[in-house]
Amino acid sequence: MNFRRLAIQLTLTWLTLFVLLPHALVLLTSVLTPDPGQLASYPMTLQAYGRLWDPIYAQAFWQSLWLSACTTLVCLLVGYPFAWSLARTPRVTRALLLFLMMVPFWTNSLIRTYAIKLILGNKGLINTLLQGLGLTDAPIDLLYTPFAVVFGLVYILLPFMVLPLVSAFEKLDPRLLEAARDLGAGPWARFTLVVLPLTLPGVIAGSLIVFLPAMGMFYVADLLGGAKNLLLGNIIKNQFLVVRDWPFGSALSLTLVLLMGLLLWLYARANRHINRRGGLDDSAA
């Protein structure tokens, strides 16, 4: 079998069957009339989309966006130097360390989150430690705050940032850095002109697979944040399971996907524009 044909056929068949068709149904559902007994029924209507303008949903969107952005930023700030350090260890050590990094994630997320609660709680590890050292008298509220939510989201998503970054750093040829040094580039210049541009694909890949899933995650936020804020994930799940307004749930979900797609597209365009002006674009070559 021709390799090219296999790769293309497989891509198109799989995605059509298990993504396009089902999502065509979501689209259809979103323009039907809610009917909990039958899930959804005719006649067609755009009512569900009209309800999207309620400010509650905009607020939930911003709340989710803000949490995801914070999480992505923290993952990047921690993950970038971490991945760089890992990439500079010998190959075998690196493989072992990466494997060790993944091991904690193979335990069930529910009991892991319970364990995080035991760390952050009023009588948890951190507060016990702080009080033991005499740094505070009363326990600090850590659990059920936005801090706890970001703490938990970063915990779950950090490897998603680190893995693509390590691959990117592995690809970085150390000779390029030496050459830059020989040409008199200082540490800062070497970082901004050599390291950062060459690892940028890794940064983008990592940020994408941290940022996008974080938008829909609500379970961690509910458990660690005390479920005091509505996130988009909550609202959509409630529409499907509790209220059983499937058209509205579908409309919300599709709008979320489209809105995020639009954001990414704008970002990519702006990026291309800046690159072209700066003359740094290597992908056009």
Binding site: F3, R4, L6, A7, I8, L10, T11, L12, L15, L17, F18, L20, P22, H23, L25, V26, P81, F82, S85, L86, V92, L98, F99, L100, M101, P104, F105, W106, T107, N108, S109, L110, R112, A115, L118, I119, Y155, L158, P159, F160, L163, P164, S167, A168, E170, K171, P201, G202, A205, L208, I209, L212, G216, L232, G233, I236, F240, S250, V257, G261
Partner: protein, 257 residues
Amino acid sequence: MTRLLKWGLVGGVFLYLYLPIAILVVNSFNSSKYGHVWKGFSLKWYTKLWANEALMQAFSNSLLIATLAASAATLIGTLMAIALYRYAFRGKGLAGGLLFVVMMSPDIVLAITFLVIFIALGIELGFWSLLISHITFCLPFVVVTVYAQLKGFDRYLLEAAQDLGAGEWQGFRHIILPLVRPAVISGWLLSFTLSLDDVIISTFVTGPGFEILPIRVYSMVKVGVSPEVNVLATLLLGLSLALVGIAALIRRTDRPR
């Protein structure tokens, strides 16, 4: 100094990752059921788990599905990434968009759409439906990782190989695959992790004959999650660490040669 900083950072991240796991390990030996206070050392949860056939079965089903789904998703995802990167074809933009849709759609929506499509296609709910849906939701993660890796490479390398008469398959095996190997491994690890812990999608697409661990654990909240789950976590951790140890040992004995 920078060395110290570097290892401090690495150590700090590992501390952060392993602290909750350490608590689970300690609590697997705690005779208290809810683990808020230490009520004495006990192995009772270990013996209970041993007798809990349903939980063990769910655990092994989960490992099986995660291994198969991660492997298949890595294979298919790598091919997809190459197709998207190298070839121009009709529906390319659509394919990219669909991968984005999978990554972005809330779990509950994916869960319901998968179930509807399996019922429509007449696929029996259980092992196969679970495998197909796990492969599908892992795919975008593999594609993004591998695509990013491909992006930095010189296209001319491949074209040169082709000019020298290497077929597409040979080009894939001897040039692309070695180049993207780190990303392929990353993709597998990410997929394995995602698959092993999925609850919502699995609840909808599995059938009564094939139960996996996360569903069972999340379902235990009604009566209180049993510390047997901590034991499972401890055993899995022990097994993984043993693997790491063996790998390191093999390396060491290999070295003198």
